[in-house]
């Protein structure tokens, strides 16, 4: 029986400073994250002791140096928020990792709250820059010059499901799901075949099928085996193949469908062999075909389009769900997935209020038509970039949303609440509430631990190896009975 899909996303944003020829990305990122303030703040470390990004899911440990910054640098680069998120500097990009959630709708809310948190700190940071300079952030994955940055998804999986099975059943799904969750891109890069417009931001960057890397020779399936939870019971599937999405509908569909397919893999419900002859070539072929008409080669010798491959997964999903009780959200995801595939088969442009790559394409084509521009016009490239701009008054996605040209999934009030409120049904609740209630006594945090510095006692680390424990139902009473961190530590020991 499939385990609950606890999940979250980690989004790296593009960053630049307009009007500053000496723009330095790293110091700009540090300024940015330190411009976001919550009242709980003491100096809290990110607890790197708990991390192991070099463990490989295929069962080995890769050689390499683990990143451990000194204390001052650690505090300057890492912020843990009272909504349970981590907001930090990763290499030369600001990154927002949303708190753990248990369903796709909640994921939309928290990923969107992240956009608003970055925008709030961007405004603050910009006000500190010299006159004429303005910091800008983009929720995209490429500078269109061969440099890419990630939008990763994480899904909790049962350790008993072998990694080999995950790879086999997931590869055709990952190569083709972009038809309903790509963010769209003008042109190609990284030695890709030239094209006017493609479905995915990231497809040009995948060079291998399965590997541990995330920054070079990117694999379609990443093998990082760092569960941030009890590693005897769980794995965390670290998905690097996706694009950063702005459309709520797209985020919802991407997350809901992926979580469902992973549950099906755990339950042995993927019975068709859809293995592709060359997944790395196929992911690019699919991306370069916004008509959604081109077929790719399967190992069996058959040729199917991306939409047909998705329809095969949908058919298996319908059969899987028919035999069991499923949540209302799963039913809704199935219905939306089915509708999206039907539209893609007829005319992808039917989805111009739902799916990012179609929304962007429709907008650009309207503009090109009125202005008689071609795909290589600088304004067209600007439209592509500005679709992802986080400024509510300038970002073209937000403009479409304001004009009623984006189908919403959640309400603005829910997003606003999530800026300062953790999800209630995962350990993110305990993390966020500890920061809110006992912030000055918190010494360090990681996904699966929180440690306190109380009086002169040695640091107390509380482990949270179960992502579903530490929920409101589990710990609210304990927290209410613990006015101080010292009380909490004592009550936990009792």
């Amino acid at each position: 029986m499939a385990i609950p899909k606890v999940m979250g996303t980690e989004i790296e944003y593009g960053i630049t400073v307009k009007g500053d020829p000496d723009f330095d990305p790293i110091s700009s990122c540090v300024l940015l994250v330190n411009c976001y303030r919550e009242e709980h703040y003491g100096e809290i470390l990110w607890d790197y002791d708990q991390e192991n990004p070099l463990a490989d899911a295929r069962g080995f440990q890769v050689d390499g140096e683990k990143y451990t910054p000194n204390q001052q640098e650690n505090i300057a680069r890492n912020k843990t928020l009272i909504n349970g998120a981590r907001y930090y500097v990763d290499h030369a990009h600001p990154e927002y990792s949303c708190p753990e959630v248990t369903n796709a709708r909640e994921l939309v809310i928290h990923e969107k709250a992240g956009e608003r948190i970055l925008e709030a700190s961007r405004r603050e940071a910009s006000s500190l820059l010299p006159a004429g300079a303005q910091m800008l952030l983009y929720k995209n994955n490429s500078d269109r010059k061969g440099n890419s940055y990630g939008a990763h998804e994480n899904y909790l999986m049962d350790r008993r499901t072998s990694f080999k099975q995950i790879v086999e059943h997931l590869m055709p799904f990952f190569v083709t799901r972009q038809v309903f969750c790509g963010a769209g891109k003008v042109g190609s890069e990284n030695r890709g075949h030239s094209c006017d417009y493609q479905i995915s931001q990231r497809a040009d960057f995948f060079e291998t099928e399965v590997a541990l890397d995330t920054m070079v020779k990117r694999p379609i399936i990443n093998t990082r085996d760092e569960p941030h939870a009890d590693r005897e019971k769980y794995r965390r599937l670290h998905v690097i193949v996706g694009d950063a999405n702005l459309s709520e509908y797209t985020i919802y569909l991407r997350t809901g469908v992926t979580a469902l397919v992973l549950s099906m893999i755990e339950d042995g419900a993927i019975r068709k062999n859809l293995s592709l002859r060359d997944p790395v070539a196929a992911i690019k072929e699919v991306s370069h075909d916004p008509e959604c008409r081109r077929a790719v080669h399967l190992e069996s010798g058959k040729r199917l389009t991306a939409v047909e491959i998705q329809a095969e997964y949908l058919e298996m999903a319908l059969a899987y769900c028919a035999g069991r009780e499923v949540s209302a959200e799963t039913e809704d995801v199935l219905a939306k997935w089915q509708r999206a595939l039907e539209s893609l088969r007829r005319d992808p442009m039917e989805l111009e209020r739902q799916i990012d790559w179609v929304m962007k394409k429709g907008m650009i084509e309207s503009f090109m038509q009125r202005k008689s521009l071609s795909w290589d016009a600088p304004q067209v490239q600007m439209l592509d970039l500005q679709y992802h701009d986080l400024r509510p008054d300038k970002g073209l996605y937000y403009m479409l949303e304001r004009q009623g040209r984006a189908e919403r999934i959640v309400a603005d009030a829910e997003i606003a609440l999530a800026i300062r409120t953790p999800p209630e049904d995962t350990r993110a609740y305990f993390r966020g509430e500890c920061l809110r209630r006992y912030g000055s006594a918190v010494f360090g945090v990681n996904w699966d631990s929180i440690s306190f510095s109380v009086d002169d006692e040695p640091i107390k680390r509380i482990l949270m190896a179960e992502p579903l424990k530490g929920s409101r139902a589990h710990v609210e009473e304990l927290l209410n009975q613990s006015p101080t961190a010292a009380d909490l530590v004592r009550n936990l020991r009792a």
């Binding site: 290499h91 910009s126 269109r144 442009m349 907008m363 600088p378 600007m382 004009q403």
Partner: protein, 89 residues
């Protein structure tokens, strides 16, 4: 109606950290399906309706392009050229 006006270009003032984003969900317009209505409107009234719908569509598209014109970054060529990132994950 525009919810936002740009502040003076270049320098931003950190005011309300969480400005209101889009309009309320209820303002969503239904974008018509492309080529909608074919086969239904065979009489004169029908084709008149179709013409009216076509005109509305054109107006909607004009409104979209006009708003893009207002917010699109100036000096697109230089802006796009200068947008260079270090590779991330």
């Amino acid at each position: 109606m525009k919810v936002f006006r740009t502040t003076s270009p270049g320098r931003e003032v950190a005011g309300d950290p969480f400005p209101i984003y889009g309009a309320a969900e209820s303002t969503q317009k239904k974008t018509p399906k492309r080529g909608g209505g074919d086969g239904e409107d065979k009489d004169a009234a029908g084709s008149q309706k179709l013409a009216k719908r076509g005109k509305e569509l054109k107006e909607e598209m004009d409104a979209l392009v006009d708003e893009i014109d207002e917010v699109l970054e100036e000096n697109a060529e230089e802006f796009v050229k200068n947008y260079v990132q270090r590779g991330g994950q």
